[in-house]
């Protein structure tokens, strides 16, 4: 399985029975979401355009201003299945939790060392999935980029996958288009120069991701 996945990463993921509910949601609800948010994706460079078409395991880190954000970021990466890290308090309610799980949400307890979430994310990244993390750790309600937490850097480094920084602002009116800035792929291994980084070194990755996201502000 792992060998096949390596040889044909995209084709294999295209027909995955375990991800059938997500695919159904994408087919049935996806077009309405694309229509409602009408996302325009902008890039700081030609190299950054490759981020949208990256076909292997990757983490997307974004700012978080409203409850609409998963749909906004999802619209930018509509070509791929997306999995989101969601706070456990949101997934606590049985029906909502079940539906969110079906839609590809991964429960994470932000206040403790959540080993289960880490294992889930690692498994998804190894399978070549795209995981979205709102790295500020919650909704900030404003466009000033808050401090990023180190979880995304740890997960990306441990899974040996790149990070795509994303930034967008709240639209003024409901009829306006969302403008989403997508940055270049950031490889933690290139920043760290080691496969076994320490926590202070991981903070460097977080700082680079934060700075690259901050640089995207000028584009939107």
């Amino acid at each position: 399985m792992a060998r096949l996945n390596k040889e044909k990463p995209y084709l294999l993921r295209l027909f995955d029975i375990k991800k059938f509910p997500i695919d159904m949601a994408r087919i049935l609800i996806g077009p309405w979401i694309l229509l409602a948010y009408r996302v325009k994706v902008v890039f700081p460079s030609k190299e950054a355009k490759k981020s949208l078409h990256y076909k292997h395991g990757v983490m997307v880190t974004s700012n978080h201003i409203t409850l609409h954000d998963p749909f906004v970021v999802g619209s930018a990466f509509w070509r791929r299945r997306m999995f989101y890290l969601v706070g456990e308090f949101i997934m606590k309610l049985p029906v909502r939790g079940f539906l969110l799980k079906l839609a590809g949400c991964i429960k994470v307890d932000r206040h403790t060392a959540d080993l289960e979430a880490m294992r889930n994310v690692s498994a998804h990244l190894a399978a070549g999935d795209l995981i979205t993390v709102f790295a500020e750790g919650g909704i900030t309600h404003n466009t000033d980029l808050g401090k990023y937490k180190d979880g995304a850097a740890l997960m990306a480094s441990y899974g040996n996958v790149p990070i795509i920084p994303v930034y967008f602002r709240k639209r003024k009116h409901w009829w306006n288009r969302y403008k989403v800035a997508v940055g270049e792929l950031i490889y933690p291994k290139e920043i760290l120069g080691t496969a076994e980084p320490s926590i202070p070194e991981l903070k460097k990755v977080t700082d680079v991701v934060w700075q690259k996201t901050k640089d995207l502000e000028a584009l939107v």
Binding site: T112, A113, D114, L115, G151, L154, S198, I199
Partner: protein
């Protein structure tokens, strides 16, 4: 592997994870993970992943939040490795 070796290995992994040259002075089995060693949720998670890799064991998510001291982690590893006190 005896308990001293487990403690020593935890110490080495701690230093590597936290980017320190040595354990804080006076670190022993009764040292608190949070107050004495300064481990937050991310560093605890990272340390546990490294311990799992080093010892070839799997931690359960529920027990992770119950650890307060180094000795409790040591006990858990010893139990998983079927070592007595």
């Amino acid at each position: 592997m005896n308990r001293e070796e487990i403690f020593s290995k935890i110490g080495i992994l701690y230093c590597r994870v936290m980017g320190k040259k040595e354990l804080p002075a006076g670190t022993g089995e009764s040292s608190s993970l949070k107050e004495d060693l300064g481990l937050d949720s991310i560093s605890t998670l990272y340390l546990v992943l490294e311990i799992e890799r080093e010892f070839g064991i799997k931690f359960e998510n529920q027990v992770l939040t119950s650890f307060v001291t180094v000795g409790e982690v040591e006990d858990y590893i010893a139990e998983k490795l079927k070592l007595g006190r």
